[in-house]
Every structure is written in structure tokens, then in C-alpha cells.
Amino acid sequence: MYTSTASTISSIKTTISPSPNPNKKETFSPFENTKRLSFSSFKSLKCIHSPPSNPKRLTSCAAFTLSPSLTTKLVPSKLPHLITEFESLSQPIDLVKRLLQYAALLAPLPDSSRVDSNRVMGCTAQVWLEVELDEYGKIMLWADSDSEITRGFCACLVLVLDGTPPEEVLNVTTEDLAALNIGLHGGARSRVNTWHNVLVSMQKRVRILVAERDRKKDFDPFSSLIVSSDGVQAKGRYAEAQIRIKANNFSSY
């Protein structure tokens, strides 16, 4: 089931370009249609990820200013759907099953990303997380775990937060996710709470990326808008951000 290689996954993802259409509702129909949740309906989801090593993404930038419509609150709409979906599961075992179904959608991260610098600390299982800003300033997320149930948690977070503006990721609180706990993995404040740990870790990285982007803006007002045909240069910017993330040891999370 998890045999897909990194390259096949990335080719799937490559076909997905960030949609300027803010109305992504139908993409997330599984949340609304929990009764008929099936693997096939999941498969149409775009946001379950590809590895970040996709070179196209780094070179195909186009000069682009965020349109107000793109900042439409995606998180506030996706999250309630997910919560409703989870709350409809009355038996704990159904939640486990649902998480395993979500886990099945999440392509494994390549070994090159399953490294200590990407580890989320404080989970009983290993969790790896990569966060980048795409060319529109939106969050790109990849997450993976060696535990299937934890992978399910990761998949949900990716589903809700991938492709959203950084501010939205930063605005999500652990309390917002509390409804998703349903008795799993300790209370909202537990050290083993996967939602909490991944979220906090993600936000920390987003803050670093945003600070990095803003710093660039200050020095060169055009750098984040100018699209270089020079892939190396673009790549360098991401690589630089990446290095910054990695240099940060995420000691607390």
C-alpha cells in the first residue's frame, strides 16, 4: 500500500498548480460527505503532498501579487468540516479507522526528508515535517510519520493547512484542534498530543519562513515578486530558507 515511490508521487503532484479559484469547496467534499467516505473520493484530493524536491515548483514562478480573493479564509471553512466529520464518529475505533484512511492518502516522504532536522519533537512516534512558501506566499506542507495513526493526523493537518496563507496557519490554535482529539493521544495539552506538536512545530517554521521572506522584502522590494528564469537562483532562495529551518534545532518541538 505504501510502496509508491517518491517520483511517482511527485509526478502526481506536479500536475496540480495552485488554483487561483478560492472556491475549493468541492475539493474537500469528503469532509461534508462523511457518510459515504471512500478511498476513491479521497484520491481526488490535491493537497496530499508531493516531496518538496519538485524542481518545477521552484522554477516556474510567475510574477504574481496575491489577489484578495485568494486570501479567502480557507482554514476556517476546512477545519469545521473536519471537526464535524470527526464528531460524527461515535466509536473511538471509527476514528482510528478514519485516520488510517487518511493516512493511506498521504504519500510517504522520501528518506532524504525523513531526517532529524525535520523531526517534530514530542510525539510518541516519529513525525517529519517540511514547510515551504510557494511562489504565491502560500504554505506548502509535507508531513509523514512511522506510525500509521499519526500519519492520519498528519494527513488531516496537511489537508486543512496546505495551500493557505501563513497568517491562517499562525492563527490556528490548539484549542481549535481540541475537538479533533476525541480521546486519542492524550488531552490537548499532553506531550504526546500529535495535533498539538505538529501544529506548534509547523507554526514555528512558518514564522521563520515569513521572517525570512520579509527580510528579503526589506532588502530588495522586488525579490519576492520577480520571477527569475534562472532556476538556480530561485532554488537558492528556497535552499537558503531550508537551511535556516534546519539550522534551527526545534529544540522545544
Binding site: S90, P92, T150, H185
Partner: protein, 506 residues
């Protein structure tokens, strides 16, 4: 919702019809024909439980004293608590002692002359005596109360370690130590230039004492070892280790967190210089642990924390320090909890007097004889009592430990870490394990959610050991005397069901 949602009937102890228990509901859900699935494993286990259930076990005798065990969780599963190595449950008498303290004599200790303070101080110091007797310390001032075992180790590291270790000195540890017995020494090593040397495991997956013996040299100043490993369930020959260490004038710190709650521990017998344990693992409250240190060593050690209680006189530029143990108990201690720990020790004695009297009768005769020769020594008498009880507990747990190991071994694709009990090795009543291709966190989650079985998953604060074993995490089931064979049977049944569930998802 469907077959998945069905629960097993709540488990009945001593149920003569136990062998007829139906196959796990999951099997029905995930297979059109349950006969094609390996149901026999759990079926067999349950059938074998029949005769075992007929003798009244210590677990069955003591369970009524632990109200927490009698509850259903997660939509109706009966709680089966198998995470005792992480923390034990508390008997009613301990809860009562806490309530009594706060209700009738809560007051600060050693500070007031009024009635309540005097009473609190008396009970607090009485608890110290109980702990001293419990581990057969020579005097109660060899017992320092800390927040937990971790703080006790840090106390030794900061106070004894920084004073006595210098560049090039060696501290010998094993890779199986709990993080709390490793990290404080890393701090000391980083600051002093002392070197930490780690003993590996031998082929039986026990810390290699041969290697340990060879590692001890004139450079060795301290040996830090577990008495019983919280992951491997193995024990170390402390007396031998102390003997080797003392031969080169090195000190020995014993991490007795997993031994003190389960077996007789005699610090004079072991001749250890330091020994630490946590109250919460021995049926006492959280927030208390203790350090045992030989009084001649403790009295040479500088304070660990500064504050009230630990001083003799304070001047503006310096202070003189109180004698141990006060020197190491800065600030207001966890008074109620210390008293609760005293009650926990009383409870363990109580088991012996009321409930296992018959069983230990022959043992008593022996002990009475022994008592007569040392009648003048009050401590000795109390200790021999405790020893008899603990020998009993120990024997009961050995049986339960092996029962757990044997039954767990029948689960498909399981790998249990630590020594095999067959080799004349006594394992503690815990098993860390992995089932092929299923993450221990997934196992623990499913066991909890579907079956109400509480086990631990993760690295159990023993990452170097897990790394050595080539794993990131393991699952761990750990028992205490209030667990029964039925708990083990139910756990094994639930684990088989869990494995089938995840296999069906692959």
C-alpha cells in the same frame, strides 16, 4: 455502526466459561469466514487461563483497594492497566492519608511550634523512618526527600559530581539507563571534562557485566547503574558491581526505580553509596522521590539548592548549612505527599499482615527466629517484616512476569526485548516488544481505544538503548501486584485482535 463497534463483554474474573469466549469482533468484520483467520492464538490463551484463574491471586485480593482499576473507559471497555512501570496506582489508604493531612493537620514542617506544625513535622519525619526501614538504611537521615528519582540523581550530579569529578575522571554507565540517569551526568561531564563510558548489552540483551567489570579502572570515580531495567526487565548484580567499584574507590549510584516497588531492596546488603527511587512507582503519590546516601558521603556534599530549611545560619555574604538531610531539602517539601508515601509503605506491610498471613507462615517462622537474635534492633524487626512481604510479592510477581512473557511470546511476529526467562534469568514483570510492521504507538492506541488496555509506547526514556536495539520505539506492558493473570489473558487477546486489525489494513 458495524461489527467493529461491538465490544467484548466486560471481562469476568474466574469465569469458568472463559474458554467459550467468542472470537474477536474484528475478525468477523474483516473476514467473510473467520475460520480462515488465526483466531486460535487468542483462543488458546484464554482456554489455558481456566485453571490458572482458580487459585486466588494477590491481584484479586488487592484489587478492591484500588478504586481506579474498577472503571470502564472508551465507550464501555473495562480498564486493564498495564503501564505500571510508568506509574503505579494508589490504594485507598494512600488517598486517605493525603486527605487526612489536608483536612486535619496541613501545616508547614520544621517551622512552627504550634500543634498542627508539630503534628505535620512528626508525620513527615515518620515517613522518612518508614522509607529508611523499607530499604534497610542504617539511619533515617540517610534519606533525602526529592521531587522524584530524577531530582535525586540530579542532586548527586550537581552536589557530589561537581565537587568530586575532574577532567579525565570516568563515570561508567550502561546504555540501558533511563535518560534521567544519563543526562545529569552529561551536564557534569561537559562542565568538568569527566568522561562518560557506556557498557553495551551482551548476547542475552542484558547490560554486559563482564564489560562493565573491565571498564572499571583507577580512573573510574562513579558507576551509575539500574537495578532493574525499565525496558529490558533485566536486573544487574549490584553487590558485585559495588565490590568492583569500591576496589578502585569509586562510588556507585543505583537507579532503583523499578526494583524498590517490586522486590526487597536492602541498601546495606547492596552496599551502594547512593540509591534513588520514586514514590509514584511504589503506590505512593507523585511529587516525591528519595535519595539514599551513606551518611558519611552525604555530610561531605555541598547543598544542591539554596533556600529555607537547608541552612544553619544565613549572613549577608555567606551561610552555613544544615546537616543532611535538611541540607538537601531546600524550601517547603511535598509534605502531604511524603506522608502519603509513608502510607504506601504501610499498605505494603498491611498486605502481609492481613491478607497473606497464611501464605507466609512458614516464612514467618524463619523470620521470627531471625528476629529473636536481633530483637534489640527495632529497625531490623520492621525490616524483616517488610522483607517477608516483599519476598512474597516478589515470588508472586515472578510468576506473573513469566506468565506475561510466555503468553506474549505466542503472538505472531512479536519480538520481546531483554533476556529470555528460560535461562535461569528472572525477568521483572514487564515486557517491551514490537510486532513486525506495526508501530507501537498504533498498537497502544488501538489497545486503548478498542479494548481499554493501557500500555506504554515510545522509547520509555531510554533512547540510547532503543538505538542500540535498532528501533525507534517499542510497546511496553508492565504489571504490578494488583494485576491478575486475567489481565494478562485479556491483554494478549486484545493484542492479537489489534494485530489482526492492522494486518487487515495493509
Amino acid at each position: 455502526m458495524d461489527g467493529m463497534a461491538l465490544k467484548l463483554p466486560s471481562f469476568k474474573f474466574l469465569n469458568p466459561n472463559i474458554s467459550t469466549i467468542r472470537s474477536p469482533p474484528l475478525l468477523r468484520k474483516f473476514s467473510s469466514s473467520s475460520s480462515s483467520l488465526p483466531v486460535s492464538a487468542s483462543g488458546t490463551t484464554l482456554r489455558e487461563a481456566g485453571p490458572a484463574s482458580n487459585s486466588v491471586s494477590l491481584g484479586q485480593l488487592t484489587r478492591p483497594d484500588f478504586p481506579i482499576l474498577h472503571q470502564t473507559i472508551n465507550n464501555g471497555s473495562k480498564l486493564v492497566y498495564l503501564d505500571n512501570a510508568a506509574t503505579s496506582q494508589k490504594p485507598i489508604s494512600v488517598l486517605k492519608a493525603l486527605q487526612d493531612y489536608y483536612e486535619s493537620y496541613n501545616s508547614n514542617v520544621h517551622r512552627g511550634i504550634h500543634y498542627l506544625s508539630a503534628k505535620a513535622t512528626e508525620k513527615y519525619e515518620l515517613a522518612r523512618e518508614k522509607v529508611a526501614a523499607f530499604i534497610n538504611a542504617e539511619e533515617s537521615r540517610e534519606i533525602v526527600f526529592t521531587r522524584n528519582a530524577t531530582e535525586a540523581i540530579n542532586l548527586v550530579a550537581y552536589s557530589w559530581g561537581f565537587t568530586n569529578l575532574k577532567s579525565g575522571d570516568e563515570v561508567v554507565l550502561t546504555i540501558a539507563e533511563h535518560h534521567s540517569a544519563i543526562v545529569p551526568w552529561q551536564f557534569v561531564a561537559q562542565k568538568t571534562g569527566a568522561v562518560l563510558k557506556f557498557v553495551d548489552l551482551n548476547e542475552d540483551e542484558v547490560a554486559d557485566v563482564v564489560q562493565l567489570k573491565e571498564m572499571i579502572s583507577s580512573k573510574t570515580k562513579l558507576v551509575v547503574v539500574h537495578h532493574i531495567s525499565n525496558t529490558l526487565a533485566s536486573s544487574l548484580p549490584i553487590q558485585d558491581i559495588v565490590h568492583w567499584a569500591h576496589a578502585v574507590e569509586a562510588k556507585v549510584l543505583v537507579d532503583a526505580c523499578q526494583s524498590v516497588p517490586h522486590m526487597p531492596v536492602d541498601v546495606r546488603d547492596l552496599d551502594a553509596d547512593f540509591l534513588v527511587a520514586s514514590s509514584h512507582k511504589m503506590c505512593g503519590p507523585t511529587g516525591v522521590g528519595f535519595l539514599y546516601g551513606k551518611s558519611d558521603i552525604l555530610s561531605t556534599m555541598p547543598p544542591f539548592l539554596g533556600g529555607g530549611e537547608m541552612i544553619s545560619d544565613v549572613f549577608l555574604d555567606h551561610s552555613t548549612y544544615a546537616e543532611p538531610p535538611s541540607r538537601f531539602e531546600a524550601g517547603t517539601p511535598a509534605i502531604g505527599e511524603v506522608i502519603g508515601l509513608g502510607a504506601a509503605i504501610d499498605y505494603l506491610q498491611g498486605i502481609g499482615m492481613q491478607k497473606i498471613h497464611d501464605f507466609i507462615n512458614p516464612l514467618h517462622q524463619y523470620i521470627n527466629k531471625y528476629n529473636n537474635t536481633i530483637k534489640s534492633e527495632m529497625m531490623g524487626t520492621i525490616y524483616s517484616y517488610i522483607l517477608s512481604i516483599y519476598l512474597f510479592l516478589f515470588l508472586m510477581q515472578m510468576e506473573l512476569a513469566n506468565y506475561l512473557y510466555e503468553n506474549l511470546s505466542t503472538v505472531n511476529n512479536i519480538r520481546i526485548y531483554g533476556p529470555k526467562p528460560s535461562k535461569g534469568v528472572d525477568r521483572a514483570a514487564l515486557c517491551s516488544f514490537n510486532v513486525k510492521n506495526i508501530h507501537p504507538t498504533d498498537i497502544a492506541t488501538f489497545l486503548d481505544q478498542q479494548h481499554g488496555v493501557a500500555i506504554r509506547s515510545g522509547h520509555h526514556c531510554a533512547q540510547p538503548l532503543h538505538r542500540y536495539l535498532g528501533i525507534n520505539a517499542s510497546a511496553r506492558a508492565s504489571l504490578h501486584f494488583y494485576n491478575t493473570k486475567e489481565d494478562v489473558d485479556y491483554f494478549i487477546h486484545a493484542l492479537n485482535d489489534t494485530v489482526n486489525f492492522f494486518d487487515s489494513f495493509k
